[in-house]
Amino acid sequence: MINTLLQGILLGGYYAVIACGLSFMFSVMRIINLAHGSLAVAAAYGLWLLAAKAGIPPFAGLLIVLPVMAVIGWLLQRFILERSARGGTLLPILTTFGLSIVIDNLLFEQFGADTRSLAPFIGNLSYASWQLPGHIFVGKLAVLMMVTAILILGGLQFFLSRFALGRAIRATAEDPDTAGLVGIDARGVNAVATAITMVTTGIAGAFLGMRATFSPYAGGPQLLFAFEAAVIGGAGSLWGTLAGGIVLGLAQSLGAQLHPQGFLIGGHAVFLLVLFIRLSRSRLPVLDKVGALLKPSALLNLRARLRSPT
C-alpha cells in the first residue's frame, strides 16, 4: 500500500512536468495548446539527434535544445499565436491543432515510425533506484522528475506573482490592449512568456524520452494527462498543477489496485470527481470544506496569509 502511494505520488511528478508548459499556457495565457505534446516530442527528437549522432548526452544536450526551444517559442508567438489569440479563445485551438498535425508528420517524414528513447544515453538512470526498507524501490529518475517539477512550477509561480515581468505576463494574457495602455510591451512580454513555456516543454520532452519511448505520434496520448493535471490544479495556479499531477498519479495507482483496468479509469473518474466537488461546494455545505481543501490555491492563500502580517 505504501509502495502504491509512493509510486503514485512520484508518477504525479512526471505528470506535473509534462503538464507544466501546458498549464502555463492554459491558466496564464488562456490558450489551449493542442500542440504541446508534439512540441515536447520534437524536443525529445532534438535531444536524441544530439545523443545518437553527435554523442552529446541528453543532459548536456539540454543546454543546446532548451535555448533552441526558447527561440522557437519566441517565433511561435510572434508569427502564429499572437495572430490567432486575437481571434478569441477558440481560434488558438484550431491553430495549435493544425500545428500539431504539421509537427507530428514532419517528424515522421524526417525520422520514420521507429520508436526511440533517450534512456540508452543516460546510463542506468532510467531504471536505477534506491531501495528503502520494506521492499520499496524509489526510482532515481522519478525523484529527479519530482524535484524538477517542484522547482519549475514553484519557480514559475514565484516569478509570476512576485516579479514585474511575471505580472506583466498575466496582465497581457488577460487584456493585451489595456496592457499596452499601462506601458507593457504586450508583444514582447507574450513572446517571452511563450519562450519560457517552450523551455519547460523542452524539459518535458527530455523526461518523456528518458522515462519511456517516443515516436512521431507520441505527443497526443500524453496530452490528456497533462490537461487533467492542469484542470485539477485549477486555473491560474501553477502549484495547483503539481497537486493536480499528484492527485492524478495517485488516483491511477489506486485505481490499478482495485481493478487491473482501473488505472486509466481511476484517473478519469477522480478528475471528474474533483470537478464535481468543486462545483458542489456552493450548493452542499458539507462538501464545502473538502472542496476548499481540494482547491490548490487554498494552500497558496494560506501561505500568503502566513507571510503577510495583515
Binding site: 498575466r170 489595456t178 499601462v182 506601458g183
Partner: protein, 242 residues
C-alpha cells in the same frame, strides 16, 4: 510651445467616422475639460491620443514629436497616461498588482502604492482583493490610481467620476488640484459641468466627432455649453483659432 498638439485628426470605427478633423493645442499644465453628448467621439479621441486606436489621418504631436509610429506602451513611457472608459482593470489580479502594473513604464516620480491608498482610503481594506470582485466605485478608484502610478505628464481621464460617490469625487478633484500644482497636463471627460469647470482652464465641446466649442473656462457659461451640445454653435463659428 505647445506640449500636446492634435492636428486634423480623423478616427474611424470601420465605416463610422467617430472623430472628424479635430485640432487643438495644449500647453503644459493646462486642464482641458472635454464635454459632449453620448457618442460625440470623446472616448475615441482620448484613445487615439493614448495610442490604443490608430487614427485614419492627422497627427498627434508631443513636444513637436510625431507619435504616429509610437505604440501605446511607449507613449505612456513618454508620459501620456489614460484612465480608460469602463475601467479596463485586470480583473484576475489584485488591487495592489493592478497598481504595480501602472509602474511598468518605469517613470520615476512620487506616486507609490501607499500614496494611492492614502488618496483612496476605501481601497485600503481591498488591497489584496481581485479587482474583478470590487464594487464599481472601487474599480474606478483603482483605475485612476493605476494611471497615477506611472507619474504622467499628461493625464487623460475618461469619465473620471463615473460611479464614484460624492465624497470620493471630492477626493479625486482634490488630487487633480494637487497634480496641477506639479505641472501635470490634464484632459478630463466629465459630464458634471460644474465640477469640470471648477478645475478646467479650458473647455472643448464635441458634437458628432467635431469640435463645436473651444474656449477658456473663464469665458464660458453653462448655457454656452448646453447650446453646444445641441449644435447651436456650429453656425456662429465658435471654434478657436489657436
Amino acid at each position: 510651445m505647445s506640449h500636446l498638439s492634435i492636428r486634423d485628426l480623423d478616427v474611424r470605427h470601420g465605416l463610422l467616422q467617430a472623430v472628424r478633423g479635430v485640432s487643438f493645442d495644449l500647453a503644459k499644465g493646462e486642464v482641458l475639460a472635454l464635454v459632449g453628448a453620448n457618442g460625440a467621439g470623446k472616448t475615441t479621441l482620448l484613445r487615439s491620443i493614448a495610442g490604443a486606436h490608430l487614427p485614419a489621418s492627422g497627427r498627434v504631436l508631443l513636444d513637436d514629436e510625431d507619435l504616429a509610429a509610437v505604440p501605446s506602451h511607449k507613449r505612456i513611457a513618454k508620459g501620456i497616461a489614460l484612465v480608460p472608459e469602463g475601467r479596463r482593470l485586470f480583473s484576475q489580479m489584485t488591487v495592489e498588482e493592478n497598481l504595480l502594473l501602472g509602474k511598468s513604464c518605469g517613470r520615476k516620480g512620487e506616486w507609490s502604492i501607499d500614496r494611492v491608498l492614502d488618496a483612496f482610503p476605501n481601497l485600503k481594506p481591498r488591497r489584496h482583493a481581485k479587482t474583478g470582485h470590487l464594487s464599481g466605485g472601487e474599480q474606478q478608484a483603482t483605475a485612476i490610481g493605476r494611471a497615477l502610478m506611472s507619474n504622467p505628464d499628461i493625464l487623460l481621464l475618461d469619465e473620471v467620476s463615473l460611479g464614484l460617490s460624492p465624497l470620493v469625487v471630492d477626493r479625486v478633484y482634490a488630487q487633480l488640484q494637487a497634480l496641477l500644482t506639479s505641472g501635470t497636463t490634464i484632459v478630463l471627460v466629465e459630464q458634471d459641468l460644474a465640477r469640470a469647470m471648477s478645475v478646467a482652464s479650458r473647455v472643448i465641446c464635441m458634437l458628432e466627432g467635431r469640435i463645436v466649442l473651444d474656449r477658456p473656462a473663464a469665458a464660458v457659461t453653462r448655457e454656452h455649453v448646453t447650446q453646444a451640445y445641441f449644435g447651436l454653435h456650429r453656425a456662429s463659428g465658435e471654434r478657436s483659432a489657436s
